[in-house]
Symmetry: C2
Subunit: 172 residues, 2 copies
């Protein structure tokens, strides 16, 4: 990710990132959600948040959490996520870049139509902090148009932005 000054950083993971994104992903029929982080301690944290609801008391207490979190995988980086998808689907995914600062890019309706066709899987990339690092954008196959509200303020949380994008791509 980049921070507010544009410096490349590893941003923090919160438990609500994992819960909110997994619940939105499950609602919109996303097959797998990858949490990618280069630091082992943060990956361990992410797995503990997931497994809290997958095992023992948590599993019995709330099946709705489990149904969402069971699709969460924790990986070190983008390449590991791509390798996992290749293993699941037989082909690598098309990478979709999202950013509040994207200029132009494919429309939501355009990407929605492409998703509805029989084609390769799509991996939609979301950043925390002040967004994805430029090296990630350079690898993307599709650049998605930004979410526009009513004015020029556009500083949604990643939890909100991902939910809105999934709704625009898959909502009824």
């Amino acid at each position: 990710m980049v921070d507010r000054r544009g410096k490349i950083v590893a941003s923090a993971i919160t438990s609500l990132d994992i819960h909110d994104l997994a619940r939105s992903a499950r609602t919109y029929g996303v097959r797998a959600m990858y949490v990618a982080h280069p630091v082992k301690e943060l990956r361990d944290f992410a797995m503990s948040v997931r497994d809290r609801w997958m095992e023992g008391h948590g599993r019995q207490f709330d099946s709705l959490r489990r149904e969402a979190l069971e699709r969460v995988a924790v990986v070190s980086d983008l390449d590991e996520a791509i390798a996992s998808i290749r293993g699941l689907c037989g082909v690598p995914p098309l990478l979709v870049h999202t950013s509040a600062r994207n200029q132009g890019g494919v429309s939501y309706q355009g990407l929605r139509e492409e998703l509805e066709q029989e084609g390769p899987p799509f991996l939609i990339l979301f950043g925390t902090g002040f967004g994805l690092a430029p090296a990630v954008a350079a690898r993307a196959d599709r650049i998605l148009a930004p979410i526009l509200g009513v004015g020029d303020y556009n500083h949604l949380s990643v939890r909100a932005a991902a939910s809105i994008i999934l709704d625009r791509l898959r909502g009824r």
Copy 2:
């Protein structure tokens, strides 16, 4: 709110509730966001989350947070929010009920058209936990249709649901 068994409870507030909802509200041009809680300690907590970015170091450090959080008001209950809106706008708001379990209800396009007319302000009600208490629904002027994903799973976080609803009502 109600809990998983349908019992009336006061649910917890997290700092990300306030930040995420305020950022989404600001993005979609919402004039004021009310955090309503009957317990003084939780209202004090909500005010401290807001004021952290409104004063001193936080104010200078991140103007984007401030622009979102300055529209947050903390109240004890729905009646206090309605009184505040009456003070701001001169008329009471129309109350819009949201729930994943609403049957029928007004469509997003219908409510969007109503919002675009010159009319009274709208107060859109969101619940945490397992949703708004029945007494709140009974007071609503409009019941909004639920958000539908691709299947029957619908257990979005309030942060995600509110963002999606604002996008459907005000997004471009």
